[in-house]
Symmetry: C2
Subunit: 191 residues, 2 copies
């Protein structure tokens, strides 16, 4: 029963991500989540204390689903720690994040909603800071070239590249996006 | 009368920007714009063909208001075209854009709304591409160091830096943001 509940909770949080991406933060209601998850009306309200709770859990779940799988991590660790590997790793990361289109759009909706909700802002600030710090730590132990500033600059550039691709895909072509990722690593990391 | 109408139209578009930032794209109704502008209910519907028209004009108006004034341009043109000037120019640009907080948040709302509205997406794509091209052209005629790829990479990194500052201001401190702008120019532009 506990397991069944955990599965249903996860399904409801995943449904909330889809609703956020499709309808925006304003469209996220318990009723919309029930409909998206295909469960009886009133179900979501049994699983979440309130809308803030649902927003927070949706944000955490996006980050969870954006983590690379173990196979990917193992493959990346086995590669030579040079600038070419770094550029390849970054192209893969940008592709993996962009591929979870609704998750990334949901995070953008949550960021905008955070300008109106101090509680959500505090939770997201902590989550994003932890993410940036984890990127720096992962880089340090990888032996890849470049410093913590390079990691932060790439984080900035690639986030907006993903925004561009997901919201206005006609601004840069796929080839231009690839070339920008490679050039960013070459210049920011240095020779 | 024509002048009066043009002024009122501009005031309504400015009110739409505030509504977008405060209430999100879903909250943008003619009624909300009338209330924000402090005009009688029904006014906005006389000035805009439909909601798409209002969204499009709000986006165009944000870009208009983000342009530097002539004094700023003249001062920038008079400076020595070296990397230090470039970094200063970029810090000023990031500050100017962040200072129009509601305008930038409105643009993010419009980008998310564009994922749901192909017409808006087409207009914004053209506007953003023109903006990137204008940045490249401005850079070329300025004589500042670096190439078109550098302009595009800085565009990416600084847009996300502004998103970070406006949505989750606690992630980077003001000093960290300044250091990131300077480091981005140094590394992306090269020696």
């Amino acid at each position: 029963m506990a397991r069944r509940n955990a599965e249903r909770r996860a399904a409801l949080v995943d449904a909330a991500i889809e609703v956020l991406a499709k309808e925006g933060a304003r469209g996220l209601t318990f009723r919309a989540v029930d409909a998206e998850a295909g469960v009886p009306a009133g179900t979501a309200s049994n699983y979440f204390a309130n809308r803030d709770d649902l927003l927070t859990q949706a944000g955490a779940r996006v980050y969870e689903r954006l983590q690379p799988d173990e196979e990917t991590i193992a493959r990346q660790r086995a590669a030579a720690p040079d600038r070419e590997t770094y550029a390849l790793l970054m192209r893969e990361t940008v592709d993996r994040i962009s591929a979870f289109r609704t998750g990334y759009l949901a995070l953008l909706e949550l960021r905008l909603e955070a300008t109106r909700r101090p509680g959500l802002r505090a939770v997201l600030t902590e989550r994003v800071r932890a993410d940036v710090d984890a990127n720096v730590a992962y880089h340090e132990e990888s032996g890849l070239p470049g410093d913590a500033t390079a990691v932060r600059l790439l984080y900035l550039a690639f986030n907006w590249l993903i925004v561009e691709q997901l919201t206005l895909p006609g601004v840069f072509s796929e080839a231009e996006r690839e070339a920008l990722v490679t050039a960013a690593v070459e210049r920011v990391v240095g020779p």
